[in-house]
Every structure is written in C-alpha cells, then in structure tokens.
Symmetry: C2
C-alpha cells in the first residue's frame, strides 16, 4: 500500500517514523513481523537503525539484513521498536544504545519491544514500576529492572507510553494493536487482511501452558546458558 496512499490523511500528513533497532544476533521475526504489518500502511515510514549501520547478522542462521541509519540519524522517531535475541546481551550494557533509547523515548509516541527486547527497555530504566512481558523463558529477569513480569501476549502501559510483546511472533499482534492506537481500528483491520493473519496452526503448543512438557524442557535446556554465556 506504500506506493498508493489510499486516504487523504496519507497524502496530507508526514508519516510516523518507526525506528526498528537492529543488532547482531537479533531474532529476525521479532522485528520483521511488526515491520510487515506496519510498512503496508502509507502513514508509516519504517527505518532500520543500528549503532553501526550496515549488514546485520541475525541469530542462529544465515539471515542478514541491512541497517540503513545510524542512531544519531534517527533521534526522534514516533515509534521505537526493540526486538530480542541472544545478541541483546551486549545491548544490556551498551551505554550508547541505552542513551539513545532513553532520549528517543522522551519524544516518541510509543516505545515498544518484542520478546527479550523488553530486557533492553528494562536496562534503559524504562520499565521501572511497570508491568511488562517478553519471551516466556525470560520473564523473570524483568524483576531486576523493577518491572512486574506479566504472562500476557501484549502489555500496554499507557502512561509512560510503553508496549511490550511476548516472544517472537507476538510482535505481529502488538503491531496490530499499535495501528489501532495510532490511527483507527479500520487501519488495523486492513493491515491484518493484507497479511492474511488468520492463524490456524494445526498444533497448539504456542505457550508453555499449552505445550507438552517435553517441548518446554527441550527449550529450557537449549537456552540454559543464555543469560550469562558470551555470544
């Protein structure tokens, strides 16, 4: 829809800038799910930003995506989106990124995270006293940032304008919520229809409460070293 703005609003107003933070070792779908939802909307302009622009290698596979903008070049985005991934262990102590995030949050309409991206918001001090979610395996560490971990798919804290989403695919649900908040329910509906988001997984193991114990254990053992291991 980007090439053919269909509404008067799309032609008249400057688009809302969405800064998607990239870093080596991010989980691709954390940000590319929301990206696909948002970039279809003519009133939105997504920008991939990174501390060092260029090619960014995502977690655990060959996918490489390009960050076209430096953090300095996108200082006042309307929306900030922080994905998760094992690579964010570096971000948790990266003052340049955390400073940018704090600054961007001062003027953003919404500052958002998907999956373990919420730990980065936490490290930036943005979740103190708030309810927040993230990947089901990494909810507990949110306590250390003063947040109250919440097993919800999307948590919206309206006052400090923070939205956190659960693991990976939850970013799609979050982006649909965001479109309704920023524009109107009709915009969210059109975006949902455009990506035919009418989920019908043939199995029902998408949360630890529903999945067989064996699946939960498999993942827990795989990720056992995550919080401290060097990537």
């Amino acid at each position: 829809m980007n090439d053919h703005p269909s509404t008067e609003a799309g032609r008249r107003e400057a688009p809302i800038e969405v800064a998607i933070l990239l870093f080596d070792g991010l989980t691709a779908l954390d940000c590319l799910g929301p990206y696909e939802v948002l970039q279809n909307v003519p009133m939105i302009e997504c920008k991939f930003v990174a501390e060092k622009p260029g090619l960014i290698r995502t977690e655990g596979g060959p996918l490489v995506i390009e960050a076209q903008h430096s953090l300095e070049a996108v200082r006042n985005p309307g929306v900030v989106l922080v994905p998760g991934g094992a690579g964010n262990r570096q971000l948790l102590k990266n003052q340049t990124v955390l400073d940018w995030l704090r600054e961007a949050h001062r003027t953003s309409r919404w500052t958002t995270s998907v999956c373990t991206g919420s730990l980065v918001l936490g490290a930036a001090g943005l979740l103190d006293g708030l309810r927040a979610t993230g990947h089901w395996m990494f909810l507990e560490p949110l306590h250390s940032f003063g947040a109250e971990p919440t097993s919800q798919r999307v948590v919206i804290e309206a006052e400090p304008r923070i939205i956190t989403a659960a693991g990976v695919s939850a970013g799609i649900d979050m982006a649909l919520r965001l479109l309704e908040i920023l524009f109107a329910r009709e915009v969210a509906e059109a975006a949902q229809l455009a990506i035919e988001y009418d989920p019908q997984p043939h199995i029902d193991a998408g949360s630890p409460a529903k999945a067989p114990a064996a699946a939960v254990e498999l993942l827990r053992s795989d990720f056992a070293g995550y919080p401290t291991e060097a990537s």
Copy 2:
C-alpha cells in the same frame, strides 16, 4: 537451537537443505515467517538463493536482505520455498528461475510456496491438475496454470510433494506442518513454542470472509493494477 543440536539425530544426519528463493520485490514475511520456524531446528539448514546473489530489496519498504547463494550453487535442496510479492511478476516469465524450480522439484522432498509464490509454481508447470492456495486476492489466476484454487490456509498435495500456503502470515502455519511431516509432531511443537506462536490478534479481520467490506475494498483498489502493471 542451531548451535546446540539437542538430539542424536541432529548430530548424526546431514541437515535438510531448505532453499528460500529471493527476488527484488518479494514480500518479506512470506519467507521470513517460515524461516524463523525452520532455522531453529538443528536438522535444517536454510539457504537464501537468488538468480543474482547479493542484496535483495523487498516489496514496498526499506527492508534489504542478503541472498548468499546462486541458483546453480543449490541445485538439489531438500525443500524449496517460493515467497510471493509484486516482484514475482518478473519471475513468471524468467526461464532461468522456472528451469531451476522444475529441476529442484525433481529431487526435492517438498516444493512449497507462500502467498503469490503459488503463481510462480504454476508458471513452472508444477500445479497442473492440483489444488493450490495463495493470497486471497490472487487465487483466480491459479486457474490459468491448470490448478484448482482453494481457499485453505495450507494445501498439501502429497503425491507431487507440493505445499502451497495462503497469504503472507500463512507461511508460519505451513512451516509448522512441514516440520511435522519431515520429522515428528514433537519437533513442530518445540518450534511453535520457541517462537511463542499462540496468536491472539485483538481483531478478527484476517480473511475476506471475516473482514469488514471496507477493508476488502480498500485492498482490492490498492492492488487493482497488480497482475499486469510493470513493477
């Protein structure tokens, strides 16, 4: 999970190669949804292939992803995945790509498409006499390739080993089916849990049957020129 194969099978057997076809103007989530599902599995190795390896610009936005392999370099993948997107208008008459696809299908375990990727399978002559799906707006053109359009989220034709998925996000559901077929239900369950695919969209407009008429009309007018327009 790639770095830590958890099963004996993961250590013993060569991984199944999944060739993901990239081209300028593809819809990113069509292939990156399935990619995120599949690449978590140690017994799978995803490879991004393109007629001309290098940086590939996706449809309608700034996302650029890298194709690391030429078609010639990946001639006998275990699985072929063809995404959709406006850019595939070029593929429909690109004999190099269609030849590669026909060749790859001779030895692949499964040849798959997401969204309008099914039109490319059709153009390669792989859907003749089969039921097939794709993005809801582009089901009719499947007739011209001898296929029977089917409004189903995932269509599995076991005999010629072809799986087609509906629009964009349906690739995630398709990849979960594929994991169960290739390995076991337990593998699909672990993959679903890893990406926390427990969809809870707050609206229910993900198919033309469920969406408000206004959303359907908006998309139809936006894409009106799609099948014939040059990109």
